[in-house]
């Protein structure tokens, strides 16, 4: 446990290094933009703003990420570093309409 705390403290410091930020907006159960291009080989800070009143879960098997975003709030999700390629994501609670793709170049 001590080791874990140390590790966490050690790597938390890396969080302060500025990772490039990208934004997604959820509105009426749709993502905007539906296609987001990001640099490959670099960790990315993804900010997802949910403008709907209901909660949504950002989910991507391709990115191995999931996060619940409460209604009318924003969430931060760190992804990557990604290999070049496309990575699909959905809003799990409204999978029919809420979908998009992240393209790493």
């Amino acid at each position: 446990m001590k080791k874990l705390v140390l590790l966490t403290a050690l790597f938390a410091a890396s969080a302060f290094a500025a990772d490039p930020e990208y934004r997604l907006v959820i509105s009426e159960h749709r993502f905007q933009p539906t296609e987001l291009t990001v640099p490959a080989g670099q960790k990315i800070k993804l900010i997802v703003e949910n403008r709907d009143a209901t909660p949504e879960e950002f989910e991507s098997h391709d990115l191995n990420r999931e996060k619940v975003i409460a209604g009318k709030s924003s969430a931060t999700i760190f992804i990557g570093p990604l290999k070049a390629g496309s990575y699909a994501f959905v809003g799990e609670y409204n999978e029919k309409t809420a979908k998009g793709v992240i393209i790493a170049k």
Partner: protein
Amino acid sequence: MLASAIIVFREVLEAALLVGIVAAATRAVPGRNLWLGGGVLAGLTGAAIVAVFTESIASLASGVGQEVFNAVILGIAVVMLAWHNIWMSAHGAALAADAKRVGGAIRDGRSECSVLLIVVGLAVLREGSECVLFLYGIAATEGFGSSMLIGGLAGVVAGVTAGYVLYAGLVRLPMRWIFAATGLLVLFLAAGMASQAARFLIQADLLPSLATPLWDTSGWLSETSVVGTLLRSLIGYDARPAGMQILFYVAALALIAFGMRRVAQGKSTSNGRRAAA
């Protein structure tokens, strides 16, 4: 309707399988039904509370509160499951032989049961809060009695049934196999949870990923397939694990297995000495 049933089923499955395994493992522990029921109830209550406070939890720790919260819950569950497994390797045989005669084991059984209550409660809390949020979203947009909501409830029933089927299968085994089987299941369950905890900490940027992903087996066995979903819940199958997740998985597996062996060996040598005296 089917979509919402599947989403809820996936969330419920993990907790239900855990409850099924733990219930089978502690079959001989006196009063465990009460403890199990208490754990599920506490978990459900907690899930509702967490769902209500989702936004406040998320905004903690500069926006990564949800990940830290999940990782902490998973971390506690891993420790409790480890404790359970190690305790079972020491007392399981005695419980199996004759539950009534081993007074000491029954006393210990009480502390074992409180661990059980926590494990079950945490599993239900974590998976349950996402279900509650999802169902709340449906109820808010489509109203109660909508087909989506009915689908969600069907998902709950299906998940609980899966847990019960696993339990019913396990308790049909001879007593000494139950302990071996549930011990192994709990071991992998705990390792999977450790890997999930690591994933949340990576997502929060509190841990480095060490290769994202280390490998990709999604083409071979998708996490969304039936087998993939089951394996994900049971042994923590991840089609695209980060290097750090594998590190946590292997470390948890090795540490718990080592603890179980140490305790089991110590037990057999002390029994041997008693027999010799």
